[in-house]
């Protein structure tokens, strides 16, 4: 079984949201029970979120490699590539031939799992939650992190708050320009300061990515290719607000398999028509 053990060190604040209170976006936490029975709520990044990033990276790479024309895919096809698809019909027959065709033609779906027509196929990829290296999580961290300096410090030490500003154009040159154009327009924007609960830069997260024993050799190589797409330079952008610089981290433990990404790209290029036809057939 392949297991990739990742350690991430934040280089910018991280926000993984869980609703809001007033103007403050709250940080997502996991309720945990400590070995002595005490309980705590500790910030984390969900495995579901990281798993989606791998799917997202492979999807964008696929459409770029196949030179998919804008407007040429159905919504169901986009949903299959980026979100794993959905059950769209009923039936009690499992299409084994289609499952084999998926593995031969576009094994990314077999790696990540997918739903199409009346079938749901489990993927062989498992992504753990990313846990903060802190005192509350000490009991479940791997041995190699047992001596980390952060293990003696409570999670609260790593939490912080950031803010952003949304500017209002009322009473600004932009507003005056609109008025001189003769339009009776009242700008509908509102000046706002919003707050975000964050994990501070320097916080360390740990998690693992693994494959089940049913993973094919192709799934293994594809996982390396996906990791190269996502964090090939050993940096990653995690969770929310990445467009404005949040969630940057350096990653230790990203595996590199020479040629894995090139092989996958070549496979897509060589089988472009078959891949597109398969996606069409799965989502018709």
């Amino acid at each position: 079984m392949t297991t990739i053990d990742l350690t991430l060190t934040l280089t910018s604040p991280l926000h993984h949201g869980s609703g809001s209170a007033g103007n403050t976006s709250l940080l997502r936490t996991q309720d945990i029970v400590l070995p002595d029975g005490r309980q705590a709520a500790v910030p984390f990044v969900s495995g579901n979120s990281l798993r989606h990033q791998l799917r997202d990276a492979l999807a964008w790479h696929t459409v770029a490699t196949l030179a998919v024309e804008p407007g040429s895919l159905s919504k169901a096809a986009v949903d299959l590539l980026w979100s794993g698809g959905a059950i769209t019909s009923t039936g009690s027959q499992v299409d084994l031939a289609m499952a084999r065709r998926v593995e031969e033609t576009y094994p990314a779906l077999g790696l990540l799992g997918y739903a199409a027509q009346s079938d749901m196929t489990a993927g062989t990829l498992r992504v753990s939650n990313l846990h903060l290296v802190c005192a509350e999580n000490a009991w479940r961290l791997p041995d190699r992190l047992a001596g980390h300096n952060h293990v003696s410090r409570p999670a609260g030490m790593f939490r912080g708050e950031e803010f952003g500003t949304r500017h209002d154009v009322a009473s600004t040159p932009v507003d005056r320009l609109v008025q001189t154009a003769g339009e009776i327009v009242q700008p509908g924007t509102t000046q706002m300061i919003y707050d975000l609960q964050v994990l501070k830069p320097g916080s360390v997260l740990w998690g693992e990515i693994s494959l089940t024993p049913a993973a094919t050799e192709q799934h293994g190589r594809l996982l390396y290719a996906a990791m190269e797409l996502l964090a090939g330079d050993c940096t990653i952008a995690l969770a929310a607000k990445t467009a404005v610089g949040y969630g940057r981290a350096t990653v230790d433990g990203v595996p590199y398999l020479e040629g894995a990404l090139d092989e996958w790209t070549q496979h897509l290029t060589d089988n472009a028509d078959d891949v597109l036809q398969l996606i069409k057939d799965l989502t018709k």
């Binding site: 079984m1 869980s18 997502r28 996991q30 309720d31 945990i32 029970v33 070995p35 029975g37 309980q39 969900s46 495995g47 579901n48 979120s49 798993r51 989606h52 997202d56 999807a59 964008w60 459409v63 998919v68 804008p70 407007g71 040429s72 895919l73 159905s74 919504k75 169901a76 096809a77 986009v78 949903d79 590539l81 980026w82 979100s83 959905a86 059950i87 769209t88 009690s92 027959q93 499992v94 084994l96 799992g113 489990a122 993927g123 990829l125 498992r126 992504v127 753990s128 939650n129 009991w139 479940r140 998690g207 693994s210 089940t212 024993p213 049913a214």
Partner: protein, 210 residues
């Protein structure tokens, strides 16, 4: 009358957990489910799973029979102490940016249809250990078959129900495995062996306590 059809040594199987188990309390947590899954992953399935037929994996557990042709594996339901009831959220955000570029549609409704946005909250429970009593026919094979079982419960692909260690220890409680649903005509329909959800596995059962 439940009888053990093949001999086996009593053992206690323990899983140590580091994540909450999702949707743990709706059904008993039966060990032959993950064991059968592991056997299937390792290519031990004797045939395909169909709506009419579920293949039985060759598990290293003794079998019980009820005398009417119903049988199952000699393993108890999981015994555990919930230390906290909690919930986990799983989000599914529609790929609207990609849809805008690659799909010709004018709109995407976020609240309707198979491709809608979902924010699913699932019940979860914290337990430090899960413990099962079983009769095994081969303790080493049982320990080996548990190795690929890295998670228990739903949402395992997203990391929940993570098992860090398995231990299998000889025990001296030969009837302890009977703490599970067993056939009883006065009972309610339940699965008797893996895959528990399969219609062919359902029989009237009641819970036994040895």
């Amino acid at each position: 009358m439940i009888t053990v059809a093949s001999g086996g040594e009593p053992v206690v199987v323990t899983a140590r957990l580091t994540e909450p188990i999702v949707d743990a309390e709706r059904h008993p947590i039966m060990l032959d489910g993950p064991l059968a899954w592991a056997a299937a992953q390792l290519g031990m399935a004797p045939g395909p799973l169909t709506p009419e037929h579920a293949p039985d994996m060759p598990l290293p557990l003794a079998r019980w029979e009820d005398g009417d042709g119903v049988w199952g594996w000699c393993v108890s339901a999981a015994i555990y102490t919930p230390t906290r009831h909690t919930a986990v959220q799983l989000r599914r955000k529609p790929a609207t940016a990609a849809m805008a570029r690659y799909a010709p549609d004018r709109r995407h409704h976020l609240a309707l249809g198979p491709h809608k946005a979902r924010d699913t909250t699932l019940p979860a429970v914290w337990a430090r250990y899960l413990v099962w009593h079983a009769l095994t026919t081969d303790i080493n094979q049982l320990a080996d078959l548990l190795k690929p079982v890295t998670h228990i419960g739903k949402a395992h692909a997203a990391g929940y129900g993570r098992v860090t260690t398995w231990t299998v220890m000889p025990a001296d409680a030969p009837d302890a495995w009977m703490a599970r649903p067993l056939p009883d005509r006065a009972g309610i329909l339940q699965g008797v062996r893996a895959p528990y959800w399969h219609p062919t596995r359902r029989h009237p059962c009641t819970w036994r306590n040895p």
